[in-house]
Amino acid sequence: MEKNELITKLKSIVEPYIQDEEAFKNLSEETDFVKDLKINSANLVDVILDVEDAFDIRIENDEMEKMLSVKAAMDIVNSKLEAK
């Protein structure tokens, strides 16, 4: 999936969970879900579920552990989409 399109889609997925508006506005590939967006760590599993639904993919436990930033999420989503 094209990079900007993917970022836009991820941005809308994380929006309900973010607690730092400023960091959200400036969201980029480098943005960290917990450190920058201040997403409650318990909500990370909800973000993963929403990503799974949005892209119709399944994310495994080990992949989930790595999915802490926009960049990591993009890599995992893209690899899953390619494998489809």
């Binding site: 309900p16 969970y17 318990a42 909500n43 599993v45 909800d46 579920l49 799974e52």
Partner: protein, 424 residues
């Protein structure tokens, strides 16, 4: 030193009124909140009527954030949060996510079972091997202490934050426990109350026991008939009641409005001995609970002006009246006024004691006795014990100073609490 305890804020989510203004009006007018529910009929319930508070989607958003409401499916927690936050604001405190942590304020907020709809949702997923797809919201909505956890975080409470559970005694027990904590100086303020889920998954077990009425599916507002000869079982209800208990010193220091004073109370159990069982009260323990409450408050029997009974509209109502007459040693025309809020809202189970206590305190604050509805035909066994005049059927304007509330629950557990009119 024993601290005096007063009530400085209240909140209520009842089937016949959400918020103090609406609720006060409803209980004065004798407005029933009982309605027919098609989902109960579709599930082949014998009793298809019940009391469910009306909460709009907009109202939910006044209390919980869109994030808190994501995947939210716990009516009891919703009702408890609304009642608890309203009570907190009513007492003059701010609800602010960035407020200072307050080590002098805590909560004891009871429930019977938490988030039963959420639990059902989770079980379907689990059985379908979708444990990974439950999300993060199942635990906090289904743990018994979900309601106190929600309120503790929303209000920034730093004293004890816990949930009590003692079936239909839960609400009255919470008030007793919060009172003890302030009286002994362990807290300055305790938000106390209780909540109960609504719907088939919480009410089904009672329907199965045939203790709910099946005779009023076409006449829902007439279904809940405490003390009536034609009472045929209770009507299930739901909701929440809450109050801020505060030491008198703290309340005066803040110049907070005071609804009433909590004099104290008693909690006990009949141990399921003698006539007592899992589901029936041991009369000896019920009477002792009431007597002990009076002794603990140094109040004599003749000082009681009004009783808010447990009175569920089952065959046990006459026994309850008999217990009151024995515990207070008063009968006939000498008996205090007595009423049952369940005639209007049904039996709100774990929430009953707190909603009914809010009604009791409103009576002291505004000097009235709310009417018993659906009680045109008082049960003859009750008329043998107390004078009909003591069971008001229309609202009474009376000077009342001391009110007593009692609740009795499955497990043969009892709770009693005394409130006194507060005059500055």
């Amino acid at each position: 030193m024993k601290h005096r305890v007063v009530i400085t804020g209240m909140g209520v989510v009842a089937p016949n009124g959400v918020g103090l203004t609406e609720f006060t009006k409803a209980i004065k007018n004798g407005t029933s909140g009982i309605t027919f529910h098609q989902n109960l009929k579709d599930l082949d319930f014998s009793c298809c009527i019940g009391g469910i508070p009306t909460i709009s989607e907009e109202k939910k958003l006044e209390y919980l954030t869109p994030l808190q409401l994501r995947g939210f499916n716990s009516s009891g927690i919703l009702y408890g949060c609304i009642a608890g936050m309203d009570a907190w604001k009513d007492a003059g405190f701010l609800v602010d996510a960035n407020s200072e942590l307050d080590y002098d304020s805590g909560t004891i907020f009871g429930t019977g079972t938490s988030g039963v709809e959420k639990f059902r949702e989770a079980i379907y997923k689990l059985d379908n091997k979708e444990v990974k797809r439950l999300g993060s919201t199942v635990v906090v909505q289904t743990m018994a202490s979900g309601i106190s956890a929600f309120l503790g975080g929303i209000l920034g409470l730093g004293n004890q934050v816990t949930t009590n559970s003692s079936a239909c005694t839960t609400g009255t027990e919470a008030i007793n426990m919060g009172f003890d904590r302030i009286q002994s100086g362990k807290a300055k303020r305790m938000l106390v109350g209780s909540c109960s889920d609504d719907g088939p998954y919480i009410w089904g077990g009672f329907d199965a026991m045939r203790v709910m009425t099946y005779k009023h599916n076409d006449t829902p507002t007439q279904g809940s008939r405490p003390m009536s000869a034609s009472a045929s079982g209770f009507v299930p209800g739901s909701g929440a009641g809450a109050m801020v208990l505060e030491s008198l010193e703290s309340a005066l220091e803040r110049n907070a409005p005071i609804y009433a004073e909590v004099l104290g109370g008693a909690l006990n159990s009949g141990g399921q001995r003698k006539e007592g069982s899992m589901t029936a009260p041991n009369p000896e323990a019920v009477q002792r609970c009431i007597s002990d409450a009076l002794i603990n408050c140094s109040i004599s029997e003749e000082d009681i002006d009004v009783i808010n009974g447990h009175l569920t509209a089952t065959s046990k109502d006459s026994l309850e009246i008999e217990n009151w007459t024995k515990a207070l040693n008063r009968k006939g025309i000498d008996f205090p006024y007595i009423n049952s809020l369940k005639s209007m809202v049904g039996h709100c189970l774990a929430a009953a004691g707190s909603i009914e206590s809010v009604a009791t305190i409103l009576q002291l604050k505004e000097q009235f006795v709310f009417p018993n509805i659906n009680c045109e035909d008082v049960h003859p066994e009750i008329l043998d014990l107390i004078h009909e005049e003591k069971i008001p059927r229309t609202v009474l304007k009376k000077e009342i100073n001391i009110a007593v509330k009692a609740s009795f629950g499955f497990g043969d557990v009892n709770g009693c609490i005394l409130f006194k009119r507060f005059i500055d």
